[in-house]
């Protein structure tokens, strides 16, 4: 007897259908596992997409320089604790690097804020005039941005509306560290990254220095942001900036006391963090799939046992070991694949529903294809031992089996 692949396939499917409940329960195990993987990974990808979109709002042509080594940020926590070791000299040096259009310095502090006799303390940020032209994340709800050293400031929407009993309006006077400033602009209420601006007071760096009693000519920054000439490559400019600052600070690459980040570096940094998280969660969800695979193996062992006589007959009629093996591998592979199909559908559904509730999720074809392939593989691998047992049965022994 010669059975073609198509015959084996029909035979395997008929076998599955004849034991419906058992097949469905086995498939259910795979469905749960695959659905969990698809849902979790799609949320991870959505999150990654969301963060990347947020970062896009900074534009793609900048380089940002922070004091300290990259590792310091992980160990020292909030940047407020980092010494500001970047100077006005550094800023000028960065501005002179080819490809840099303009470099803006930034200082933050927690200072005292007074309005209409009410006192509080809050985040004060000093940034060079013009940074809003270079980075489109600063958006005004009303008024205008401050001029250089004019005793003017811009406040976040939260500061204007919520912090003081009386709402702050354009033209009002506020005291920062006991120096008077005129409110000339109020920022739009932020979302995502920009919501950090809501409770912030923003003013010109020299004004801020003066209010903090730092009237010295030497200004130290916690961050310098360089806007690039259109068309220049941020990574190349980043390397040039790094070299310039190393020369200026007399340091080598090993003991470098600053960190230069480019959009692609930030992206890959975040990508690798989310990728690791995704791998971890996807790995956890895969445990369920492994259990599903054990279920397939179990079902297949039983199926082999029940069909011992049939196998004997097939072998007596001339079926080869390979054909028997194929027969059972098709059966277990089908269990995996059907489970994968249904699991993908349910996983996508969960991911869509999550999306409705505001959880970013992102489904790509690659994930679906991967899940399908994975489920087929799990089915086939789980069926390997049962199928081998079937293939190795002696026809005579098998025919005698009760």
């Amino acid at each position: 007897m010669i059975m073609g692949h198509a015959d084996l396939f029909t035979y395997a499917v008929r076998g599955l259908l004849s034991r419906q409940l058992r097949s469905y329960l086995t498939i259910l195990g795979v469905v749960i596992g695959i659905a969990a993987i698809v849902a979790i990974v799609s949320i991870g990808q959505g999150l990654s997409q969301y963060i990347q979109n947020e970062l896009m709002s900074f534009g793609g042509d900048y380089v940002t320089i922070n004091p300290g080594k990259m590792e310091d940020y992980a160990s020292s926590g909030p940047t407020v604790n980092m010494p500001a070791t970047l100077t006005e000299n550094d800023r000028k040096a960065i501005e002179s690097v080819g490809g840099v259009e303009k470099a803006y310095g930034q200082v933050t502090d927690i200072g005292s804020i007074e309005f209409h006799g009410e006192k509080g303390s809050g985040m004060i940020i000093g940034t060079s005039v013009g940074i809003w032209d270079a980075f489109p994340i600063y958006k005004l709800r009303e008024g205008r941005f401050y001029r250089a050293e004019a005793g003017e400031l811009v406040i976040g929407a939260g500061v204007a509306d919520n912090v003081f009993k009386k709402k702050i309006r354009l033209g009002d006077t506020m005291r920062i560290n006991n120096m008077s400033f005129k409110v000339v602009g109020i920022l739009e209420k932020g979302s995502g990254i920009t919501s950090a601006f809501d409770y912030m007071v923003m003013l010109d760096v020299p004004d801020m220095m003066r209010s903090m009693g730092r009237a010295k000519t030497i200004i130290s920054y916690e961050e310098i942001d360089a806007k690039l000439v259109p068309g220049s490559n941020p990574d190349e400019v980043g390397v040039a900036v790094e070299e310039r600052l190393r020369n200026l600070h007399h340091v080598s690459e090993e003991n470098q006391d600053f960190t230069v980040l480019t959009p692609s570096k930030i992206n890959s940094l975040i990508g690798s963090i989310i990728g690791t998280l995704n791998l971890f969660l996807g790995g956890l969800a895969s445990i369920a799939l492994v259990v599903g695979g054990v279920g397939i193996a179990n079902t297949m062992f039983m199926s082999v046992m029940e069909k011992t006589r049939e196998i004997g007959v097939l072998k007596a009629l001339g079926a080869t070991d390979a054909a028997i093996m194929e027969l059972f591998l098709i059966e277990s592979g089908m269990l995996g694949l059907v489970g994968g199909l249904l699991g993908c559908a349910i996983g996508l559904l969960i991911s869509l529903v999550m999306n409705q509730f505001g959880v970013p999720s992102n489904v790509d074809l690659q994930l679906v294809l991967y899940a399908m392939f994975f489920s087929l593989a799990v089915g086939t691998v789980s069926g390997l031992f049962p199928a081998r047992r079937a293939a190795r049965l002696e026809p005579v022994e098998a025919l005698r089996y009760e």
């Binding site: 195990g29 926590g77 985040m123 969800a285 054990v294």
Partner: protein, 406 residues
């Protein structure tokens, strides 16, 4: 038939089909092992953070400005603390001193400042702290070189190790002079590295409150302090004292519960807010692991349906000789419950080994007896729930039909 007979019947049936039973049990083992090891990570994380917080001691209370309704970050020192305008002053510190059970009160006033060393200037956080802090919080602020601040000090500073080492071209040594706001300060102490502590001091410069007032001058409101730290008397309940402090300050600051503009936290309240976060992490990881257990449960259901089908004739015979539906139900529930239980015990052991292994390579884990007991109990429940439908199917078989089953 007695319960023990039914149990013996179940066990006998299971060992008859040992491969199938073992594969079914493996599913539960994997699920339970995953739950135990992952939840133990959540517990371990919580224990790790609490241990860090213990360096404050349990008789510790902190007061910071801002509404208690907005979260103030871990120590109430978030830069967004001012979502309601308010400041604390030395008057508040004085008012708190009078509360029963308060042993000592310390103030912290901080800002960023330009610090000059050998002609180089770097901006860093400068804080005026009551010298008693070094004595009372010696578990979290340790001196490595030199000495701590004392009450009689003037124009001297104690600095963080990282600030000393990395901020300037040359390391700052004891006895050197720093210029802060046109005033010269002598470095009398360098603190130990505090990496990983909830109160990082590595980049800080500490001076006395009087010096800070001189240096910060107009940058702060009159008598403004940024944080008040309190040691309570040994044996007194910090929670009760915190409550009294809250009432007292509401009174002196003329605010009500609704308009309260300051936050009072105790070591216990900090720990419980951290416990809420790590609890959520545990629940999430355990939940994902529980998916695997659910799949294992489906496996039990599958195996039990098969067992019922195979033993249809047995069931018919048992019913014919007087077994009630309840007895049949019991036989099959014992069988499925047993598979769950065995899987649970092995899984619990395997999960414990995994958890201990992770601990050995540096992942903080903690195996609580409750977790282990819960895992075993849960697996028993999963086994029985999974076996319920197959068992009911068996129980409801008509003896005549069952005997006629070929």
């Amino acid at each position: 038939m007695g319960h023990s007979d039914l149990a013996r019947f179940s066990v006998g049936a299971m060992s008859h089909r040992s491969l199938r039973s073992w594969l079914t049990i493996v599913g539960i083992v994997i699920g339970i092992a995953a739950i135990v090891s992952l939840v133990s990570i959540g517990y371990g994380l919580n224990g790790y953070i609490n241990k860090q917080l213990e360096s404050f001691g349990s008789n510790f209370i902190s007061i910071s400005p801002g509404s208690p309704k907005t979260s103030g970050g871990m120590l109430g020192m978030s830069p967004f603390a001012g979502t309601r305008a308010s400041i604390l002053t030395t008057n508040d510190a004085a008012a708190v001193k009078g509360v029963a059970g308060v042993e000592s009160v310390y103030t912290v006033t901080a800002t960023r400042f330009d610090v000059e060393y050998r002609g180089d200037t770097v901006g860093t956080a400068v804080a005026g702290v009551s010298p008693g802090v070094f004595r009372d919080f010696d578990k979290m602020i340790k001196i490595e070189f030199g000495r701590a601040l004392t009450e009689s000090d003037s124009h001297v500073v104690v600095i963080g190790s990282k600030f000393a080492k990395d901020s300037y071209d040359r390391e700052i040594e004891l006895g050197r002079t720093l210029i802060i706001g046109n005033v010269s300060f002598r470095v009398v102490g360098i603190m130990e590295k505090s990496e990983g502590s909830p109160f990082p001091v590595d980049n800080l410069v500490f001076m006395t409150p009087d010096d800070a007032r001189t240096v910060m001058g107009s940058m702060k409101q009159e008598n403004q302090v940024d944080m008040i730290m309190i040691r309570t008397q040994e044996g007194a309940d910090p929670e009760l004292i915190a409550h009294d402090i809250t009432l007292k300050l509401r009174n002196t600051r003329h605010v009500t519960e609704d308009t309260q503009d300051f936050r009072v936290s105790t070591a216990a309240s900090m720990m419980s807010s951290i416990g809420a976060i790590t609890g959520a992490v545990s629940l999430f990881l355990g939940g994902i692991a529980a998916i695997a257990l659910a799949v294992g449960g489906v496996g039990i259901a599958n195996t039990m349906f098969m067992a019922v089908t195979e033993r249809t004739r047995d069931i018919g015979v048992m019913k014919a000789i007087g077994a009630r539906e309840r007895d049949i139900l019991e036989v099959f529930l014992i069988e499925s419950g047993l598979m769950g239980l065995i899987g649970g015990i092995i899984g619990m052991l395997l999960g414990s080994v995994l958890s201990i292994g992770m601990n050995a390579v540096g992942v903080p884990t903690l195996l609580k007896p409750e977790l282990l007991a819960f895992a075993v109990l849960f697996s028993l429940v999963v086994g029985m729930v999974s076996g319920f439908f197959p068992a009911r199917k068996a129980a409801r078989l008509q003896p005549v039909d069952a005997l006629g089953f070929a």
